[in-house]
Amino acid sequence: MASALSTMDRAAPIRSGPRSFLRRLADGDQIAHLITLVFAASILLITTMLVYQLWIGSTDARHKFGWHFFFTTTWDPVAGDFGALPFIYGTLVTSALALLIAVPLGLGAAIFLAELAPRSISDGLAFLIDLLAAVPSVIYGLLGIFIVVPMMRLYIAPFLKATLGFLPLFQGPCYGVGMLTAGIVLAVMVVPFIVSVSREVLLSVPADQREAAMGLGATRWEATWKVVVPFARTGIFGSVFLALARALGETMAVTMVIGNDPKIAASLFAPGYSIAAVIANEFSEATGNLYVHSLVELGLVLFLLTFILNGVARLLIVATEQKGMSQA
């Protein structure tokens, strides 16, 4: 008791002086800390709510169809029978086609920009390519409808039929809209991502790697292809995953050129459908719980796919950049 009193006695005169002022300020800090913390936490809340809404919004479909949802091909709103396979197939095939075109093109461009072009030209071209990434997807769709679709019907499809027509992939009628058209449009959309991330990753490869290879007598190309690119391999994979995540979730451009027909056909010329496209087309007109819940479950699938891919991509890119730093 006595000791408590004595501490209070000692503390009292100081408190009434400048310290109480400082304390109030410190409290201001706490308030600011708390307010910003609430806003930061709201991002967690929003994301959690998003996942929660997708989960409860798809209850009926998950209960009724279970895992069959992913393996059946019927999509019949009238009979209330829903299977997601044609959409999953369409999403995967168009994304794969997009990567098949965009990866060589993007990697080639990135190598040119990082290894060959002088820095000022490289920065200028990279800036232009970054602008491509800023073009809204509905504009890619617009150009897809009026440029790629007619080109497909008049030139690309006849050419492929004449040269590779013995493959089932390139047989059957071509209406212009279809899987291959969607793949081409998607490729143009994801190339900027591959170029800009791969270029950054290649630029982060330490110069002594190149110098050592060329010092051993390698040509410029050999140094690039056998030393620099393998060094940056993980980061380049990261850029590809990033592009894939973007291609899987892309909605408008695909909706406008894929043909919107839930069938699985061998031919790449055939119209198809993708997960994002079916949600875009049917969600606002869907009637009945089961129909809406099936569409939300498709949204859940899309969310999970992109979630996993983005996570992997980020890890790969960070890993390469740290490798470059630790050896630089």
Binding site: M49, A109, I111, A134, P136, I139, E222, M252, F303, N310
Partner: protein
């Protein structure tokens, strides 16, 4: 020169030229897109486009005045939702955050950034459209606002962190408290960069179509207030482009040109501002 050396040298030249060709193709795609859009759009953009309402099907002419105003209203709501959350969360991450919680917030922000826009649309439908029982400007703005958050957080945090340390220390040494330092020294020092980042963010969501399809929906007339379906430029481009009417196609090109022009101008201007700023900070 041995055969092998000659072979290696020619492979070198061929492959290096191929990479150059790849870069050329990629860049010329951009030039082609711009050129084609300008060519088709320029002949379709006229005064009516900016001042008139859409005409009924069959009548030619008319414009998209309601969609232009609609896009502006949607972006206003989106900014009111996305910017405060983004800026405050960024201040937390840059100035107050501890290790684990900051990591979780950053990771979640990146996750949110990767969520396909159509899924954000489903979310906005579930939490705004269903309780209100109809499509509305608010729901569309909400969807776009959620999409703005991740970029707002990341760019603001980056610019706050770029403020030189000695400014911060100077303010603290003069006796300013932490929040006072943030409010009167750090944020003003980073303001130009923060605003540029936010502007880029607006440009990014300005072209979003998918999340609006079943939140803001569309409207062929003016949409007074905030509670009714509203037209927007991207949704109009979509509807007009897939329609069978030539006159609507013409208008879709016009809208495409206006939208792309807006997005690219904002992008180019902000890159220049940022580049100048980076040079300034480097000294």
């Amino acid at each position: 020169m041995s055969f092998r050396t000659a072979w290696r040298k020619s492979v070198n030249i061929v492959m290096l030229s191929l990479t150059g060709a790849c870069a050329l193709v990629t860049v010329s795609v951009l030039i082609f897109i711009l050129g084609y859009l300008a060519w088709n759009g320029a002949s379709a953009v006229n005064w009516d486009f900016f001042t008139k309402l859409p005409k009924p099907v069959g009548d030619t002419g008319g414009g998209m005045a309601n969609a232009i105003v609609g896009s502006a209203k949607l972006l206003l709501i989106a900014s009111l939702i996305g910017m405060p959350i983004g800026i405050m969360a960024a201040v937390y991450l840059a100035e107050f955050g501890g290790k684990t919680f900051s990591f979780i917030v950053r990771y979640t922000t990146d996750l949110l950034n990767g969520v396909p826009s159509i899924v954000i649309g489903i979310f906005a439908y579930a939490v705004v459209v269903i309780p209100m029982k109809h499509f509305s400007t608010l729901a569309g703005g909400f969807a776009l606002g959620i999409m703005m958050i991740p970029i707002a957080v990341r760019s603001t945090e980056e610019f706050l962190r770029a403020v030189p340390r000695n400014l911060r220390e100077g303010a603290m040494a003069l006796g300013a408290s932490k929040w006072k330092t943030i409010a009167t020294v750090i944020v003003p020092a980073a303001l130009q960069g923060i605003l540029t980042g936010l502007l880029l963010d607006v440009a990014r969501v300005a072209g979003e179509t998918a999340p609006l399809l079943f939140t803001a929906f569309s409207n062929r007339f003016w949409s007074p207030g905030w509670n009714q379906p509203i037209a927007s430029l991207p949704v109009m481009i979509f509807t007009y482009a897939i329609s069978p009417y030539d006159d609507w196609h013409r208008q879709a090109w016009a809208a495409g040109l206006v939208l792309l022009g807006l997005v690219l101008v904002i992008n180019i201007v902000s890159r220049f501002v940022m580049a100048r700023r980076a040079a300034f900070l480097r000294g």
